[in-house]
């Protein structure tokens, strides 16, 4: 998104002032509305489609496979595809590695089937269009897809070390997967102010960006900074990181609730 010099300085001044004015009048902690479709892919165990109010859109599918967890301990695997970006582009690779790290906070005990076997979840993300940095959209997508995931019900024995047998499943009964999926938030730093969920024009004038992850009531690693644009990026006061974490701490619970109680 290219903006004119006058637009940029107008936006920057209004975002940097105290009290700040966001171009769409939102509060510092307010998100733009989103729409969610869940569980719409018939061949996936769980799926979601998220549409943001600026037209950004993302589809997430969760598929499960039974693996021997003594051989393959990595039970969650995220693949991200961003339309218009190469698979080896910086943004795709950094998002993929971020989510593979973030999802380690999920307790893999929930995926265990028997003493020997576990479900391995393959989370495929397709970002159809994104106007601003897509990380928080993807994380909302993964969150609601995991919440809508249902896995086949085990009917065979849990203890399969003594009696060697392969896991057997019920013909049609499914068990909902209950995991504490993490959320990831993008914050924009403008001078001494920090904003949650920056829109495209806000990202364009931001001095810096902050990625904060959250899971189960508390902020978790990784926390990262990102450059939201190529022209305006500067250093910032480290106290703003604290402020950002506090902001996420305060409001993430409410967002998780809104995403769960659909």
């Amino acid at each position: 998104m290219t903006l004119s010099v006058a637009e940029k300085s107008y936006l920057y001044d209004s975002l940097a002032s105290t009290p700040s004015v966001r171009p769409d009048g939102r509060h510092q902690h307010q998100f733009r509305p989103i729409e969610i479709y869940t569980d719409f892919l018939p061949s996936s165990n769980g799926s979601s489609r998220i549409i943001a109010s600026d037209g950004s859109e993302c589809i997430v599918s969760v598929k499960a496979k039974v693996v021997d967890h003594s051989l393959d301990s990595d039970l969650l695997q995220v693949e991200i595809d961003i339309a218009g970006e190469r698979d080896d582009s910086l943004i795709t690779e950094s998002c993929t590695s971020l989510f593979n790290k973030v999802l380690r906070s999920i307790d893999t005990k929930k995926l265990q089937l028997t003493k020997k076997y576990s479900f391995k979840l393959f989370i495929d993300v397709l970002v159809l269009s994104s106007n601003s940095y897509p990380v928080s959209l993807i994380s909302f997508g993964i969150y609601s897809a995991l919440n809508s995931t249902a896995l086949p019900k085990l009917v065979s024995n849990f203890d399969d070390l003594e009696v060697e047998e392969l896991p057997m499943f019920h013909d049609y009964d499914l068990v909902p997967l209950e995991v504490n999926a993490p959320l990831v938030f993008v914050l924009a730093v403008v001078k001494n102010n920090i904003f949650i969920d920056p829109a495209a024009n806000e990202s364009e004038v931001a001095n810096n960006g902050l990625i904060v992850s959250w899971s189960d009531g508390k902020v978790i690693a990784p926390i990262r900074t990102i450059a939201l644009n190529e022209t305006n990026t500067k250093g910032f006061n480290p106290q703003l990181i604290q402020q950002g974490i506090k902001l996420v701490d305060q409001y993430a619970e409410e967002i998780a609730k809104a995403l769960t109680n659909l």
Binding site: T2, S4, Y10, S14, D24, R26, Q30, F31, P33, E254
Partner: protein, 382 residues
């Protein structure tokens, strides 16, 4: 509803054939009826209401004003010439877009309901510079092609209308560079449908002191005037192409609206502060009112300045954000955007003291309904 985020759960038509239908949770069922179907047929229904004679039978005599969907058979009569928005298979003519059938003599075409902006001579548009090339700028106006702004059709700094010189050619980027927003008029159209723009009036030129906002171009109604002063010291430039600029009202905006006789009085008070127009033009005679037609007024370098007015208060920025949200809400409700409706929307929006509340879906719908209602009460509904 949460103040932090509003999440709407939806079910689309693509979920209808799902084999999991029985397993899906019960509350999504009625949700499907409410939102899913609306989602799919919103555009059609809206247009059907406005179409004068919605007919379902497909007699070739009554195909005018009929609404077509892509792939729908228009006629199997071979006498028609096939125009834009149609295709044919074995003498049958089908629509390739969603829109209304138009017949001119024996030419049959379908005019799409929504499309990219098609420029017409005389349109007041807002555009963004996409490229600086030889003696011209390429301007993004949301059309199929970039519009052309020739170096000769802008006001050159340094005074009275003068011819462009070689030094102007070399410093084109100091007038307008990539990303700059400007308003202009479509001067003429090229053979291929691209627009040629001009800014040879002081009401056109670089845009400053405000915020950009975009809506579908089909929602902007062509009218005599596209620059309007709004309550709260805000001026809106409604580009016919759907690009909208909201800015602080300048003294020139005030002078334009004032009656011709009393204009000196109006601008007298204003001019003492700053006699600058929206595009930065300065009157040679500080006592005289600024007029957009008097081109002898000096068009200094200021008309290409990138500096915003330092006197814009936070209060005013709030108001501009409010107007931006109102315009987005009107666009969300698929209501045509006019000066009157923006003002009605502003009055209705004052019920929400928090500007950020206007981005919520329910509030946008309520605002759209309020505007249409108020319009009906005042008796000037279409």
């Amino acid at each position: 509803m949460s103040e932090v985020i509003s999440v709407v759960s939806r079910n689309g038509a693509f979920q209808k054939t799902m084999i999991m239908e029985e397993f899906s949770s019960d509350e999504s069922e009625d949700d499907y009826n409410m939102t899913g179907s609306e989602d799919e047929e919103e555009g059609e229904e809206g247009a059907e209401k406005s179409s004068s004679k919605p007919t379902s039978k497909k007699s070739s005599k009554n195909i005018d004003s009929e609404l077509m969907t892509p792939g729908e058979l228009i006629t199997s009569d071979p006498i028609w010439m096939r125009g834009h928005g149609t295709y044919f298979l074995e003498n049958d003519t089908y629509s390739s877009v969603a829109g209304r059938v138009s017949k001119v003599n024996k030419l049959l075409s379908v005019i799409p309901l929504k499309s990219r902006y098609a420029p017409e001579t005389g349109d007041h548009v807002v555009g963004r510079i996409a490229e600086v090339s030889n003696k011209r700028w390429k301007v993004d106006i949301g059309g199929k092609q970039h519009a052309i702004l020739m170096l000769g059709s802008v006001n050159l700094p340094g005074g009275i209308l003068r011819r462009k010189s070689e030094s102007d050619e070399l410093q084109m980027r100091s007038f307008l560079k990539e990303g700059d927003l400007l308003n202009a008029e479509v001067q003429s159209l090229f053979q291929d449908g691209a627009a040629s723009l001009h800014t040879r009036s002081l009401k056109y030129g670089k845009l400053r002191n405000g915020q950009f906002c975009q809506v579908p171009n089909s929602l902007i109604v062509r009218s005599k005037n596209h620059t309007h002063n709004l309550p709260g010291n805000v001026t809106v430039v409604l580009g016919v192409n759907g690009y909208i600029w909201l800015r602080m009202t300048s003294s020139m905006d005030l002078a334009r609206d004032a009656p011709p006789g009393g204009s000196t009085q109006v601008s007298g008070g204003e001019a003492s502060g700053r006699a600058a127009g929206p595009t930065g033009a300065v009157s040679l005679n500080p006592n005289a009112s600024l007029s957009i037609t008097r081109l002898e007024e000096e068009s200094s370098w200021k008309i290409y300045s990138d500096e915003n007015d330092a006197s814009i208060t936070n209060q005013l920025k709030q108001t501009i954000s409010r107007y931006a949200n109102i315009i987005k809400a009107l666009a969300f409700c698929e209501v045509g955007i006019t000066h009157e409706r923006i003002v009605l929307g502003y009055e209705a929006s004052l019920a929400y003291s928090d500007v950020g509340a206007l981005i919520q879906r329910d509030n946008m719908e309520a605002l759209g309904a309020d505007v249409l209602n108020a319009e009906r009460m005042r008796g000037n509904a279409e």
